[in-house]
C-alpha cells in the first residue's frame, strides 16, 4: 500500500512538459444531412492539420499511456463557449511518443446551431492526458495555434 502511494507521489516529481508544434493547413465547411434527422441540414467542418510533438518527457515509470487530443475552441456570438475534440490518439510506448502526423479530423466537427455561418474564428490546441499505472490523472497542453483561424463559407460539396 505504501509502495503504491510512493509510486503515485513520485509521478509529481518526475513530471515534465513536452514541446510541440501544431499548424492548421486548411479548413473546409461542407453542407450535409444531420445524423438523426435526414431532412435537416448540418454543416460539417473538415480540418487538415500537421502535428509534430515530442512527448517522450512524459513517459516515466508510472506512465501507463498518453491520451493525446486535438481540440477546437470558439465562443459564438451569443457568448456560448464550445470545445470540440476533432482528433485523438492513444500513445502507449515511449518509442511512439515522438508524434509526426499529417491528416484531417477523425470526429465530426459541427456546431449545435447546425451552421458555421457567423461563427467567430476558432483556436486549436493539442492537449494530453497522462494516465498512470496508479495515482492521479494529469492534463496538459503540448501545442497551440498562434492565432485563431476562421471558418470559410459553406460549400455544397467537397
Amino acid at each position: 500500500m505504501a509502495l503504491l502511494a510512493a509510486i503515485a507521489l513520485s509521478s509529481f516529481v518526475l513530471m515534465s512538459s513536452p514541446t510541440g508544434d501544431l499548424a492548421i493547413s486548411s479548413i473546409k465547411v461542407v453542407s450535409s444531412n444531420a445524423r438523426r434527422y435526414p431532412n435537416k441540414k448540418q454543416d460539417l467542418a473538415f480540418v487538415h492539420f500537421n502535428i509534430t510533438a515530442d512527448l517522450t518527457p512524459l513517459f516515466h515509470w508510472n506512465t501507463k499511456q498518453l491520451f493525446l487530443y486535438l481540440e477546437a475552441e470558439y465562443t459564438n456570438s451569443q457568448g456560448v463557449k464550445n470545445e470540440v475534440v476533432i482528433w485523438d490518439r492513444i500513445v502507449r510506448r515511449k518509442e511512439d511518443a515522438f508524434i509526426k502526423f499529417v491528416g484531417k479530423n477523425k470526429y465530426m466537427f459541427r456546431d449545435p446551431s447546425s451552421s458555421f455561418r457567423n461563427i467567430p474564428p476558432a483556436n486549436y490546441s493539442l492537449k494530453y492526458n497522462v494516465m498512470p499505472y496508479v495515482g492521479v490523472l494529469t492534463y496538459g497542453e503540448a501545442a497551440r495555434t498562434s492565432e485563431a483561424i476562421s471558418f470559410p463559407p459553406t460549400q455544397s460539396r467537397l
Binding site: F67, K81, E83, D88, R92, V134, V136
Partner: protein
C-alpha cells in the same frame, strides 16, 4: 464441528454477546459514515466506482477502481473522463468528454437575481462523450437525449487504482462468494473473544 466454539459462546454470557453485536454494528456504521462523508466532500453520489466494461481500454480495464470528484461550480473540459448515469439505464458509464457547449442558462421569471452564478452555468453545460475503445460517440447510449447534462453526471475521474475492484465484480458474478465472505466476516466478529 462447532461444539468447541458453541461452548465458548455459552461461556461468554449474554452481555458479552450483546457487546460483540454492538461492535459489529459500529464497524458497519463507521464504514457507511466514511462512504457518505466522502460523498459529501466530493459532491458525488458514489465517489469510488469500479469499471464494469471494456469501452475505455487500454486506459481502464474491468475491475479497476476510480476515484471521482464533482465540484458543483466547475465546468467539465474535453479530455476529462466522466462517469454518468442516464435515467432508465441501470449501470453508470465511464467515458471521456468529446464536446462541451457552455449554453447560457435560460432566465426564468421566478429567479430574482440578475447574475448567473458559476454553478448555474455549470448546470447548463452540454456534453458529448465517447469511450476510448469505441468508434463512435455515445449519442446512441443517451436514450433519446441530444446531449449529456450536468444532472446526469456522477463525477470526474481523478485517481486510479488498478484491479482492486475486481473483488466486487467477482462477488456479483458468483453470489455464493458474497454470502461466504459476509457470513465468514460476521462469524468472525461474533466469535472474537477480546
Amino acid at each position: 464441528m462447532f461444539t468447541e466454539e458453541l461452548k465458548a459462546f455459552k461461556r461468554l454470557g449474554f452481555r458479552h454477546v450483546l457487546l460483540q453485536v454492538l461492535n459489529f454494528a459500529s464497524v458497519i456504521a463507521s464504514g457507511l459514515m466514511i462512504w457518505k462523508g466522502l460523498g459529501i466532500i466530493t459532491n458525488s453520489e458514489s465517489p469510488i466506482v469500479v469499471v464494469l466494461s471494456g469501452s475505455m481500454e487500454p486506459a481502464f480495464y474491468r475491475g479497476d477502481l476510480l476515484f471521482l470528484t464533482n465540484p458543483p461550480n466547475e465546468l467539465y473540459k474535453t479530455g476529462d473522463i466522466t462517469v454518468y448515469k442516464i435515467p432508465g439505464a441501470d449501470i453508470p458509464i465511464v467515458h471521456r468528454v468529446l464536446e462541451t457547449h457552455d449554453v447560457k442558462p435560460k432566465r426564468s421569471s421566478k429567479s430574482k437575481s440578475k447574475e448567473t452564478t458559476s454553478s448555474e452555468v455549470a448546470a447548463n453545460q452540454r456534453i458529448l462523450t465517447k469511450g476510448d475503445n469505441n468508434y463512435v460517440d455515445d449519442i446512441e447510449l443517451y436514450q433519446g437525449l441530444e446531449w449529456l447534462e450536468r444532472k446526469h453526471i456522477v463525477g470526474k475521474v481523478r485517481g486510479f487504482l488498478p484491479y482492486i475492484g475486481y473483488v466486487t465484480i467477482a462477488m456479483n458474478d458468483f453470489p455464493q462468494l458474497k454470502y461466504a465472505l459476509l457470513g465468514g466476516l460476521g462469524l468472525l466478529a461474533l466469535l472474537q473473544r477480546e
